[in-house]
Amino acid sequence: MESDHVMMMRTTATFRTRSCDDCVRVRASLRRELLCANSFYKKSKAVNFHYFLRLSLPSSLFDPYIEGFFEVSLRCAMGDSQYSFSLTTFSPSGKLVQIEHALTAVGSGQTSLGIKASNGVVIATEKKLPSILVDEASVQKIQHLTPNIGVVYSGMGPDFRVLVRKSRKQAEQYNRLYKEPIPVTQLVRETATVMQEFTQSGGVRPFGVSLLVAGYDDKGPQLYQVDPSGSYFSWKASAMGKNVSNAKTFLEKRYTEDMELDDAIHTAILTLKEGFEGEISSKNIEIGKIGADKVFRVLTPAEIDDYLAEVE
């Protein structure tokens, strides 16, 4: 009677077989199966290796008379995983330091802002590229989430991409279920929930972006900011990123309740100009707007040039 031991990433299986050859074969089989199981089950929360193995090991390996001797005791890897706790933990002062740092990351990102007008919403951002060799037409910082909701960010671009992807999927799931376009508040809430989950899950870090979501639905024009912590606020006008304090002061002075969409676009351009290093042009800013037609559009460089000319 030979016995052996298979160890694979903190999962151990102990077994006995009748002969050396069988022992070697079982060991190789188990290793293979555990490897597959580990990569397959990496994402799932409940792992039942025992069940999986019972299905996958060929029964020809074992003589029916000695089946009683086959004992497999498995210790599940998941529970002992090094990353089953949250990396975002409270400090003694009651703050979540990771989120503060995430906000710092946002604060050092390029300035973006949004203004809610009486008949629409405009969002805009700087588009400072690292070199003149970068093809600026390929960089799109303002994205659609649905035909009537757009979003812009300050912070880490790759994190933004992930959030846009998740939000688009959630919006489409809502549409598939109710055959109705998702209201802006609901989409913002679901996006914020995703961002909050990443502050309370194992092995992940908070998103390093703040979003400005602009939409027009049955409740009229709406502008929301979503932070890395998962909190969201509705704004009449707001800014984020490097130049946030100057931009917000400027907006506080310039904003009026009955502003129209075109006025709002002019104000947005002026606000961006306030803290802009260098020459502002249609190649280094991006503007998106949505009006009563409920269609979100990113302005073309030609249209931006027209507005810039009006502002001069």
Partner: protein, 204 residues
């Protein structure tokens, strides 16, 4: 054993002028034996949307509970009532979730949409929606109901006339069906009020 004919049912909904009516029979049977004469098939989701379910009684009750649950959460989250079209899409999705082990009931949904425009629809047990402009029927008495409604219906009826029409159509159809009957339950819904009436027909 025909499972859709186990308990017996008859359900009909009709469109009127800025109003709708939804009616059902009241019999609950176990094949040939009648065990209740006051079974509730029509349920209010909110003041402007009603759903009536025909088919297996246990699924009628369970599905109704699930739908009320979903609607309550929707109301809390979105701070508004569901439109009837939205509700119909939700019911269709919930039924299709159980495509290979379905709820054995056919719903009839009726509601007042935007601008008080009446909306009716029916679907089969796996969620195939069927919209109609005039009337929809469901249940063991559906064939007789189709005939009766087709003959008696006319467009743009006011609430009182609609009530008369739907009641006559229901009572005459269930008389031709042994598994449904024992009276009728009619709701006539206008933008301002909901009128619930019990009909006394042939008690058999």
């Amino acid at each position: 054993l025909q499972i859709f004919e186990y308990n017996g049912s008859a359900v009909v909904a009709m469109v009127g002028k800025n109003c709708f009516a939804i009616a059902s029979d009241r019999r609950l049977g176990v094949q040939l034996q009648t065990i209740a004469t006051d079974f509730q098939r029509i349920s209010k989701i909110h003041d402007r949307v009603f759903i009536a379910l025909s088919g297996l009684a246990t699924d009628v009750q369970t599905l109704y509970q699930r739908l009320v649950f979903r609607h309550k959460l929707y109301q809390l989250r979105e701070e508004r009532d569901m439109k009837p079209e939205t509700f119909a899409s939700l019911v269709s999705a919930i039924l299709y979730e159980k495509r290979f082990g379905p709820y054995l009931c056919q719903p009839v949904i009726a509601g007042l949409g935007e601008d008080d425009k009446p909306f009716i629809c029916t679907m089969d047990s796996i969620g195939a929606k069927e919209l109609a402009k005039d009337f929809v029927v469901s249940g063991t008495a559906s064939e007789s109901l189709y005939g009766a409604c087709e003959a008696m219906y006319k467009p743009d009826m006011e609430a009182e006339e609609l009530f008369e029409t739907i009641s006559q159509a229901l009572l005459s159809s269930v008389d031709r069906d042994c598994l449904s009957g024992w009276g009728g339950h009619v709701y006539v819904v206008t933008p301002t009020e909901i009128k619930e009436r019990i009909l006394k027909g042939r008690m058999d």
